[in-house]
């Protein structure tokens, strides 16, 4: 398989990693909006809104980039997935629509009334449903449940993503997104109490990730033989697996000792390695067992031009992104006069 094909495959995987880490955290924010409770309920929601506001549209673009790379670079795989996963993808799109618009309407419409709260409910429910569906689609792709004859999908429109394995991946995805959001928010919080709220949430969801990941692993033996083999046998995947475990334990320890900035990095590493682990265990298949990277790749000239476009994109997008996150990151949000003083986070 050519370098270009590997490069494009890696780019697709990379956008999914970034979408999980950034877009996923936005979904997780919605989950915590739904589960906001305790004496600081309103502050928790305000923190989530403030953290997501300037960046959610940008974070969401990673999904579009991944999608475009998939259909330009591996058109046959995109077509097959669009047919096999028509139902969950349609529902996922509806979730994305309701989440994005509800968040915006809530932010820009008149504040403090019943309408705002109703938009909040739409936003947070969509934020729970969408990651579940996204994970179920991933589960279906990773399993061997999508069957084809030639270009035609013959395995039906439901079975592949409603399998126990796909459901377990859905649950893991939701848990991972909620965990990432909680960890990020500990560092965004401006009062120690608020940071503490999200630290507790991060520790609980982080703890839940272990059994969830274990369940996925065990179910993969039956449900996704390729992933099972990849995860348990290839040395590279095993190393990734080990890296994930180290990152997870580190994130836990850092949260425990309230080193929130470092915990953020560790949690992001953990999340990124989980997604990458899936991609590596499945490679070179895009849809196991029928479609490989090589078998569905666009002609070489197209692959090269896409890589050039990707490079041009990185040159323009990365500096802008750095600027955005510097302006709105926790340190960029240096409080102006009347606001609460910055909280020492360590």
């Amino acid at each position: 398989m050519s370098t270009e094909t590997w490069g494009l495959g890696l780019a697709v995987a990379g956008t999914f990693v970034l979408y999980a880490l950034l877009g996923g955290a936005d979904f997780g924010g919605g989950v915590w909006d739904l589960l906001a409770r305790g004496p600081r309920k309103a502050e928790q929601r305000a923190l989530i809104a403030r953290a997501i506001g300037p960046v959610w549209e940008v974070n969401h673009v990673w999904l579009i980039v991944g999608l475009v790379l998939l259909f330009s670079g591996f058109p046959r795989a995109f077509a097959a997935l669009s047919v096999a996963l028509h139902v969950p993808l349609t529902l996922l799109v509806l979730g994305i629509v309701f989440r994005g618009t509800a968040f915006t309407f809530r932010a820009y419409d008149t504040r403090g009334d019943v309408v705002e709260r109703r938009w909040g409910v739409v936003f947070s429910v969509a934020s729970v449903v969408a990651p579940l569906l996204l994970g179920m689609c991933v589960g279906a792709v990773a399993s061997d449940a999508i069957r084809m004859q030639g270009h035609a999908v013959v395995s039906g429109f439901f079975a592949s993503w409603l399998s126990p394995f796909a459901l377990s991946v859905g649950a893991l995805t939701l848990g991972l997104f909620a965990f990432l959001a909680a960890v990020y928010l500990t560092h965004e919080a401006r009062t120690p109490e608020l940071a503490e709220d999200f630290r507790r949430r991060a520790l609980v969801t982080g703890g839940l990730l272990f059994p969830l990941a274990l369940a996925v692993l065990l179910l993969s033996r039956e449900g996704a033989p390729r992933v099972w083999m990849g995860l348990s046998q290839t040395p590279f995947a095993l190393a990734l697996h080990g890296g994930t475990a180290v990152a997870a334990v580190t994130a836990f320890a850092l949260l425990w000792t309230r080193r929130f900035r470092a915990a953020r990095v560790a949690a992001a590493t953990q999340g990124g390695l989980i997604v990458l682990g899936w991609a590596v265990s499945q490679a070179p298949y895009l849809v196991y067992p029928h479609l490989t990277l090589q078998g569905t790749a666009a002609p070489l000239v197209v692959q090269r031009l896409l890589l050039v476009a990707l490079a041009v994109g990185l040159v323009t997008v990365v500096p802008s992104l750095v600027l955005l996150f510097r302006v709105f990151g926790p340190r960029g949000q240096a409080p102006r006069a009347p606001q609460a003083p910055e909280v020492p986070t360590t």
């Binding site: 549209e57 980039v65 046959r76 915006t104 197209v302 994109g313 302006v327 102006r336």
Partner: protein
């Protein structure tokens, strides 16, 4: 209805909905930056408030545009997997570049909306400019895809799919200059007319409201310039269609018989079975002049083509009439307004003019939608002209009525909600309303 029709209806509905927001996403940032610049030059707080209001409007419309655009990128596969499976590789490049442009737009919009107090004024204005530029770029790239579907190039078709793919040739398919320019102009024109209509409406009720007169002075120049440039651009576009897609031109004009010195038909209802048009006003030699700049040029009629490659003639003809009609009305109003401006040395704001602008407010959007329908209906029955039929591209998934009705309901709901939310924004600027004071922060930040 067949599943193919449901798929087409769903795609059409999604695009018709998205186009409104995409157009606003291209044009509102320009208006927002213009008023920001004017504020810096004059120090007038009204212009700053206007730019903030426009920024809020942009944020709301951009968000709905972004999610409806996401729906479309999924729908390409969900509804037309065969099209994407075969031609995704041919037209992926402009889509990828559109992704880059969209990315840049979203980043700088975040900085512009939330950063007024956090970044330097220069960087803030620069961000606004970047939003405007990348918005235009993304419309440009995505229109290239549509040009490809109308005039495919850059590959050799075989029964097994395209071979010998040349992505750069496909990206700039014949006619790309006309179509992209026509589309970009229409985005600015539709948004400027809509904005002018809103402020004209308020000025009719509150004739002295200086904020709204200033708003009008931002919208009217763009509206007038685009309304006058668009007919010229449209003419170039039509001449290209006449050469490249004669069957589409014939459908636009409901022109059945091939003739030299063909007349231009205004109005009228085509009877496809009888192959005649009733009730039209015919301008002698008009079509030959319009299409080929030669009064005696021969214009091919629909009869020249097999019946099964005719687009839906009545629909295309009607949409074309609506586009040309509304375009002409807007151009006339622009001329009248510029005349008054020249005579009176300020933008007119009398009752008659305000009524005219109020009534013309929706025309830009009507023309935009009609023009898009001309292109899309006019391409049928092909999804990639002369290469792949729409029916070959559709998904094998059954029961497409379900997603169609679901998305119809969702778009109706979103459309009504956006109007309601935008109205609350405008209502805040009405004279005597509590929200009419300048509020420092653009965004909702607790």
């Amino acid at each position: 209805m067949t599943d193919l029709l449901y798929a087409r209806a769903q795609m059409g509905l999604s695009l018709a909905f998205h186009i409104v927001f995409a157009a606003a996403g291209v044009a509102l940032p320009v208006l927002m930056v213009l008023s920001d610049l004017k504020h810096r030059r004059t120090g007038d707080a009204d212009y700053r408030k206007l730019s903030e209001k426009l920024a809020k409007g942009t944020a709301i419309l951009f968000a709905v545009g972004a999610v409806s655009g996401t729906v479309l990128s999924f729908e390409l596969g969900l509804l037309w997997p065969e099209f994407m499976g075969r031609y995704g590789e041919v037209i992926g490049l402009p889509f990828s570049l559109e992704g880059v442009a969209f990315f840049t737009e979203a980043i700088f919009l975040g900085i512009y909306l939330y950063g007024r107090e956090r970044v330097s004024p220069g960087l803030h204005l620069f961000s606004g400019g970047m939003v405007a530029v990348s918005g235009a770029a993304s419309a440009f790239f995505v229109t290239l895809v549509n040009t490809f579907m109308n005039n495919p190039s850059g590959f050799t078709p075989t029964p097994a799919g395209p071979t010998d793919v040349q992505p750069l040739v496909a990206m700039f398919s014949p006619g790309w200059q006309y179509q992209t320019a026509h589309v970009l102009l229409s985005c600015y024109q539709a948004s400027a007319f809509a904005m002018a209509g809103i402020h004209a409406f308020i000025l009719l009720k509150h004739p002295g409201a200086s904020f709204h007169r200033k708003a009008l002075s931002i919208a009217l120049p763009l509206a007038c310039v685009t309304a006058l440039a668009q007919p010229l651009m449209g003419d170039l576009s039509a001449k290209h269609v006449a050469r490249a897609q004669p069957v589409k031109l014939a459908a636009m004009e409901a022109h059945f018989d091939t003739e030299a010195g063909a007349p231009l038909r205004v109005g009228g209802w085509p009877d496809v079975e009888q192959r005649t048009v009733t009730g039209s006003i015919d301008l002698p030699k008009g079509l030959s002049i319009l299409a080929f700049a030669d009064p005696d040029a021969e214009v091919k009629g629909l009869n020249e083509f097999p019946r099964d490659v005719w687009p839906p003639v009545a629909k295309v003809h009607l949409a074309f009439q609506v586009m040309v009609g509304t375009g002409s009305l807007m151009a006339l109003l622009a001329l009248a307004t510029l005349w008054r401006r020249w005579r009176g040395r300020e933008w007119p704001h009398g009752k008659g003019m305000m009524r005219a602008w109020l009534l013309s407010g929706p025309l830009g959007l009507v023309a935009l939608e009609a023009g898009w329908l001309v292109t899309e209906w006019g391409r049928q029955p092909w999804i990639v002209r002369d290469v792949m039929r729409t029916g070959e591209a559709v998904t094998p998934v059954p029961h497409l009525a379900a997603p169609f009705f679901t998305f119809t309901a969702v778009y109706l709901f979103l459309g009504v909600t956006v109007l309601f939310v935008l109205w609350r924004q405008v209502a805040g600027t009405l004279p005597g309303k509590p929200g009419a004071v300048v509020d420092g922060e653009v965004a909702h930040v607790h």
